[in-house]
């Protein structure tokens, strides 16, 4: 296979575009695709301060790398989720990346801030781990961006992520989440920072190829809580289609954005947002879902500490009565959510 630009030996085939590139021309093509997405969707301008959510995985480090190369003012935000060695390695990868490039990295250590990691938050709040993790991410990305004066939060959702979320929401018939699925979510409240997805035109296989060719050192292991996740099943199904019909994922998502979402938006209304009574962040209720979760956890931690100081036997946290704190955790095709990880019902669960 030959490079479409220079006729040298190709290293990366882009089947959905019927083309292939050598290493240098693939990197050039990739960066142009990201820059085009940023400009075309008016995600941010060169003077804007962009907060890139970085996990230590390939997609987020690639996004950060490309934005820095394109000359944008991009800082990283990493959340240490407190998931043992996985979280430790993830933070180390982010720190090494930032150090090598002289870039600013902000870190929020969830166990240090809230007493337990996301698995502990989930257990004590009666949620599944991915639900507590997603809620924490949505809340903290927004809050840190606001507190630090960033004009936009960039996440590394790629074409495969978006196509999988779209398929899941179609299966679940989740119209509300479909309306919210877009590469740009403008701020609709003074406390809500604009959110963008500059990799929405890029396939996951292409971000992995970019990472290898640029020598970006990323975490290869998956989060231990992701085994059996619904999103992986949807991606697997889409990749079977993509293998036999290249362009399926792109056509699914881009046709949705261009032809279907505008129709859905005409008939939908955005929920009214107010400020959380406890933290001031936007919410549809009186107290936001994140405050409700962390306050519940803090209460249980206090009970546990009090019990352990009174009696020789510590309180078994798992034995405490639990009430599920929101929708979307119930089964293989639950009530759905959007590609920002938000569940379907903003009244009960919006961060």
């Amino acid at each position: 296979m030959r490079c479409a630009k220079c006729k040298g030996t190709a290293q990366v085939e882009v089947r959905r575009h019927h083309t292939a590139f050598c290493g240098p021309h693939f990197l050039e093509w990739f960066e142009a695709q990201v820059d085009r997405a940023v400009r075309r969707e008016r995600m941010f301008a060169p003077q804007d301060r962009v907060l890139v959510a970085v996990s230590g995985g390939k997609d987020s480090l690639v996004l950060w790398d490309v934005l820095l190369r394109l000359g944008y003012r991009a800082s990283g935000l990493h959340l240490n989720l407190g998931i043992g060695a996985y979280s430790q390695e993830s933070q180390e990868k982010c720190e090494a990346f930032a150090r090598d490039r002289g870039a600013e990295l902000l870190v929020v250590d969830i166990p240090a801030e809230y007493g337990v990691g996301v698995e502990g938050l989930a257990q004590l709040a009666g949620r599944v781990a991915c639900s507590a993790c997603g809620l924490s991410k949505r809340y903290l990305f927004n809050r840190v961006a606001l507190d630090r004066g960033f004009s936009v939060v960039a996440t590394a959702h790629n074409l495969d992520d978006e196509a999988a979320v779209l398929l899941g929401n179609l299966i679940a018939g989740n119209v509300e989440a479909l309306v919210r699925q877009a590469p740009v979510l403008e701020s609709t409240h003074p406390g809500l920072v604009k959110k963008v997805k500059p990799l929405y035109r890029i396939a996951e296989r292409e971000t992995a190829a970019y990472a290898v060719l640029r020598g970006i050192d990323y975490v290869l292991d998956e989060c231990p809580n992701s085994a059996g996740a619904r999103s992986l099943l949807l991606k697997e199904a889409l990749n079977v289609l993509e293998r036999d019909a290249p362009g399926t994922k792109q056509n699914l998502y881009w046709n949705f954005l261009e032809k279907i979402r505008p129709l859905l938006r005409e008939t939908s209304q955005s929920p009214a947002l107010r400020s959380c009574a406890h933290c001031g962040q936007p919410t549809t209720g009186d107290v936001c879902a994140f405050c409700r979760m962390t306050e519940r956890v803090a209460h249980k931690l206090r009970l546990r500490a009090a019990a352990s100081s009174r009696a020789p036997e510590p309180v078994a946290v798992g034995a405490l009565p639990e009430t599920p704190a929101g929708g979307g955790d119930g089964g293989l095709w639950p009530s759905g959510g959007d590609s920002w990880g938000r569940p379907a019902n903003p009244d009960t669960d919006r961060g």
Binding site: M1, A208, G215, L232, R243
Partner: protein, 64 residues
């Protein structure tokens, strides 16, 4: 050739395949879900491989 499959945490010996496409067929891997690496070089489906090569197969699918 020695093939290291990163996401399955295993290494296998494969003989008698001539291209990356044949290798992935033999291992029953969907080409959309992996990258095939030889040294620092990425290989396309039609790239020739030899029995003395050392190949790494990297997963590209992530998320949960």
């Amino acid at each position: 050739m020695k093939v290291r499959i990163r996401h399955q945490r295993r290494e296998v010996q494969v003989e008698g395949v001539r291209t990356v496409g044949e290798l992935l067929d033999r291992l029953q891997l969907n080409p959309e879900t992996v990258l095939v690496v030889r040294g620092t070089e990425l290989l396309t489906r039609d790239a020739r491989v030899a029995d003395e090569d050392e190949i790494e197969i990297r997963p590209v699918v992530s998320g949960g």
